[in-house]
């Protein structure tokens, strides 16, 4: 039964293996078919339900009007750039500030106790205030202070309010990531002679960040949409433009157009983070099951 060590002859799959591949192919085909049928049935069903509803002609006219979609598009397109700019500026600031807060909360040095207290109070307080209130407070309150050397534009203060609000949420995301790293990692880093700061910088934070990418994306998407809150202090961004158009033309199609803009922005981002996460896990836990 035991073979002598054979010369490395080219391997040919056995008939049984070929048979098995055929079975696997059939099983795959069957599950693809099932999936296709399930998808078609569900979506066609939902579609039919909507289109046959009594109010559909009215809804179609007010929300899905081709003429109004085209007419409002240029205005929304240019205003949407403002939303993009706002979150593009805000997001990096949020990430940096939030990580700093999260690390400050984990500081153990007695000298850093005041910093830790500030970090705790900041997250508790800011997370308790609705974002829209922060935008209003910053947008109307800050310029009234008549500070020297600070811009008074509502765009600036809306962005600042978003940074403050989101950095508190994102800090908690980072903190949960940091706390999820097993103590043995910290022990082995300290055993190598790394200091607390170095342990954080080279061992804990890199692992923590990888772990919290999905919730970070969640907050990022949420931020993109909350740029619309800037409209409350008179920033003429995409939602405001759509509202404006709707009020003049008695048609809500521009809202749908704006929604599509936001969706078009978030879907590629979600796929990108999925890909990023897959790449990390393939590289770091190959075969570990």
């Amino acid at each position: 039964m035991t073979q002598p060590p054979q010369a490395a002859t080219a391997w040919e799959p056995s008939t049984r293996e070929l048979e098995r591949r055929e079975i696997r192919r059939r099983l795959r085909l069957r599950s693809t078919l099932t999936a296709t049928v399930a998808v078609v049935v569900v979506f066609v069903g939902v579609g039919v339900l909507v289109v046959t509803s009594p109010g559909w002609p009215r809804v179609h006219e007010t929300f899905f009007n081709g003429h109004h979609a085209r007419a409002s598009l240029p205005g929304i397109w240019s205003a949407f750039w403002l939303n993009v700019k706002m979150f593009m500026v805000a997001e990096p600031l949020i990430l940096v500030l939030a990580l700093a807060i999260a690390i400050a909360r984990g500081a153990r040095s007695p000298w850093l106790v005041p910093v830790r207290l500030v970090a705790v109070v900041y997250t508790d307080l800011v997370r308790g205030i609705p974002t829209i209130l922060l935008v209003l407070l910053f947008g109307f309150g800050m310029p009234s202070l008549q500070l020297q050397g600070v811009p008074n534009s509502p765009i600036f203060w809306a962005t600042a309010a978003l940074v403050v609000s989101y950095s508190a949420y994102v800090a908690e995301v980072f903190r949960s990531g940091i706390e999820s790293i097993h103590p043995s990692q910290i022990a082995s880093a300290e055993a190598l002679g790394l200091g607390r700061g170095q342990t954080m910088r080279y061992v804990v934070v890199p692992q923590a960040v990888r772990r919290v990418v999905p919730p970070l994306l969640n907050d990022f998407v949420s931020l993109q949409k909350d740029t619309a809150l800037a409209s409350t202090i008179g920033v003429f961004e995409a939602v405001f433009v759509a509202q404006d158009y709707g009020n003049y033309n008695f048609n809500y199609t521009p809202y749908v157009v704006v929604a599509l803009f936001f969706v078009a922005l978030t879907i590629p981002l979600a796929r990108f983070t999925d890909w990023l996460g897959r790449r990390y896990s393939e590289r770091e836990r190959a075969g570990a099951r």
């Binding site: 039964m1 035991t2 799959p13 098995r20 099983l27 075969g287």
Partner: protein
């Protein structure tokens, strides 16, 4: 279809497994009869663990046939869960669930997979824990136990479902020598009670005492196999001799 009384419990024929270009198992043949204790020996990377994972269907084979209780389980249409519910597996790193107590670890599969009532599952788990000297650890969480205790708990977890075949993957490799003994004593007891086992091990003296068959794996092939008194003292292959010289204490 299962005629486990006559015929082998497990039959492996021409099994091949590759990871991309790397051939991990090639032409592996193995027969395990009821009450057999088969020890897989060989250096790290020789394919011992992969073979066990293939038997448990954690990995799909790339060729060959695996039969268990008279049925081919390497068929893609086979219900993996049904197969696994008849096999027990213990891992090198214990793999106990840290969020459950030892008792809950042991009753999870009986209750959720085998539909045993809570009281029956707990009674059986407690009896086994008692037998393995873990009676007073039942309510603790695994991370509060020593390595040897954790591995014994993992064995109990695998035994709670009364599997017909037990697969042990280097279960003492992560333990210090003092704790190895307490785990191996239990495996020895199981062997004496007639538990059918396939185990990968580095403990040669244990293999000599307990195994009915020892298989030497080298580069993914079972280079030779035979009863321990023959294989461990008078191996046929030069490779086996070389390996044994390195791992056996000089006689």
């Amino acid at each position: 279809m299962s005629e486990s009384s006559d015929g082998p419990l497990l039959e492996v024929a021409d099994v091949r497994k590759t990871y991309g270009e790397r051939v991990v198992l090639a032409d592996v043949d193995l027969v395990v009869n009821p009450d057999d204790v088969v020890c897989l020996i060989g250096s790290s990377g020789s394919g011992k663990s992969t073979l066990l994972r293939c038997l448990n269907l954690l990995e799909d084979v790339d060729d060959g046939v695996i039969r268990f209780e008279g049925r081919e389980i390497s068929d893609p249409r086979v219900d993996r869960r049904a197969v696994r519910s008849r096999m027990g597996m213990v891992f090198q790193a214990y793999n106990l669930f840290p969020h459950l107590t030892v008792l809950e670890n042991c009753t999870l599969a009986p209750r959720r997979v085998h539909g045993v009532s809570r009281s029956d599952a707990e009674a059986r788990a407690r009896a086994l824990l008692e037998q393995f000297g873990l009676a007073d650890q039942a309510a603790k969480h695994p991370d509060r136990l020593s390595g040897g205790q954790q591995q014994r708990a993992a064995l109990v977890r695998a035994l709670c479902t009364s599997p017909t075949l037990l697969l042990l993957d280097e279960i003492t490799a992560a333990l210090d020598p003092e704790l190895v003994g307490e785990v191996l004593t239990i495996v020895r007891d199981l062997a004496e009670q007639g538990t059918t086992m396939v185990l990968a091990t580095h403990e040669m003296s244990f293999a000599r005492d307990v195994a009915t068959t020892v298989c030497f794996l080298h580069e993914g092939r079972i280079l030779e196999h035979g009863p321990p008194e023959q294989l461990l003292t008078d191996p046929r292959e030069a490779r086996t001799r070389q390996f044994l010289r390195r791992v056996l204490p000089p006689a």
